[in-house]
Symmetry: C2
Subunit: 174 residues, 2 copies
DNA sequence: TGCATTGTAAAGCGATCGTTTTACATTAGT
DNA sequence: ACTAATGTAAAACGATCGCTTTACAATGCA
């Protein structure tokens, strides 16, 4: 494993578990197992590192959402929270922590959320056989709600969202 | 307006807009219009100040949720985002920023989310005429989802959640 | 053999962090 | 008029922030 990947992985873990602002560069160097000089050669800056973490995470997350049905969308979320835990959406948290004032971070978040919104629309259209933006918005809300409610209610929120989405879809079909 | 209220109001505004960690005590003193000595006399510490902000916000928020129907629940959320804007849930954000490692903050968040969960259950029971924990969980997910999706999709997510909740409730009734 | 390349360890940069202190002004109640 | 309370302005506390620098070791390719 090359140093850049090791650094990105360590950074994602720390930023996700303790927050972006609360994670100092010294803890990053220790966790990544490299000197601060090497770290800055690969990271550029703290904000750039966070942006790379988000871009990487977007790739991993969106890869799991390559599905054809709404039900599979929530099944993918169930897998995700089983693997990654329930700490809410790192993208929204990063932007909130920086107040949207760090361009590299704000752009990575905006790109991810736009891709996510588009993907939900596609899956709904494929599953339903036609476009339905209003239903897609509801599915997106359920997805986001399951993600964030899971922080304090646990993974059961994903099952709840999954069941709710099935009802909404059934109704849209008839 | 006494100094404690002025301080709490200024703190809520800054913490909400720029984040807890990103807001320094100097910006707080400036915004609250008082010396740092007076600030610390009323705040105790930064974490205690955040905890008081959250307790205050819980009071204001929960007061709006004293309703009898699920539809009114989402109407209240519509009012809330119109007044307070769409920056996600300050409670979850505070806990995420501190990694849950600040007891005063973690406790304020847990108390709020427990009260919120209980309230949703009560409203669903009142509206439906019977307890329905599974439906209540779905309504909670829709509420939380509307709150967080609104950050990047705008207030329309609340209307979407409201419509979805109406469908789920109608189905539970028949 | 020689010379980039890539890494480490550690000191140090100026700035800012949350918090406390010192010294002094204003006001209200006995 | 005396006192206690409550405020201000500003300096200073040690710690930590993100980031850079200096000095040096190991490696791989010519």
């Amino acid at each position: 494993m090359d140093m850049t990947s090791k650094l990105t992985a360590a950074a994602e873990r720390l930023f996700d578990r303790h927050g972006y602002m609360a994670t100092g560069m010294d803890r990053l160097t220790e966790a990544a197992g490299m000197s601060s000089r090497t770290l800055y050669k690969h990271a550029g800056s703290k904000a750039a590192l966070m942006a790379r973490v988000l871009t990487e995470r977007d790739r991993r997350f969106m890869a799991r959402l390559e599905v054809r049905t709404v039900d599979a969308l929530f099944a993918a979320l169930e897998d995700w929270v089983r693997v990654e835990g329930c700490r809410g959406c790192l993208f929204l948290r990063s932007r909130a922590e920086t107040g949207g004032d760090t361009p590299e971070i704000a752009e990575a978040v905006a790109a991810h959320k736009e891709a996510f919104h588009r993907r939900v629309g596609e899956v709904v259209a494929t599953d339903l056989g036609r476009e339905d933006p209003a239903l897609a918005e509801q599915v997106l809300v359920l997805f986001e709600g399951a993600t964030h409610a899971a922080v304090y209610r646990g993974a059961q929120t994903v099952s709840a969202a999954r069941a709710a989405a099935a009802i909404l879809l059934e109704r849209a079909r008839s």
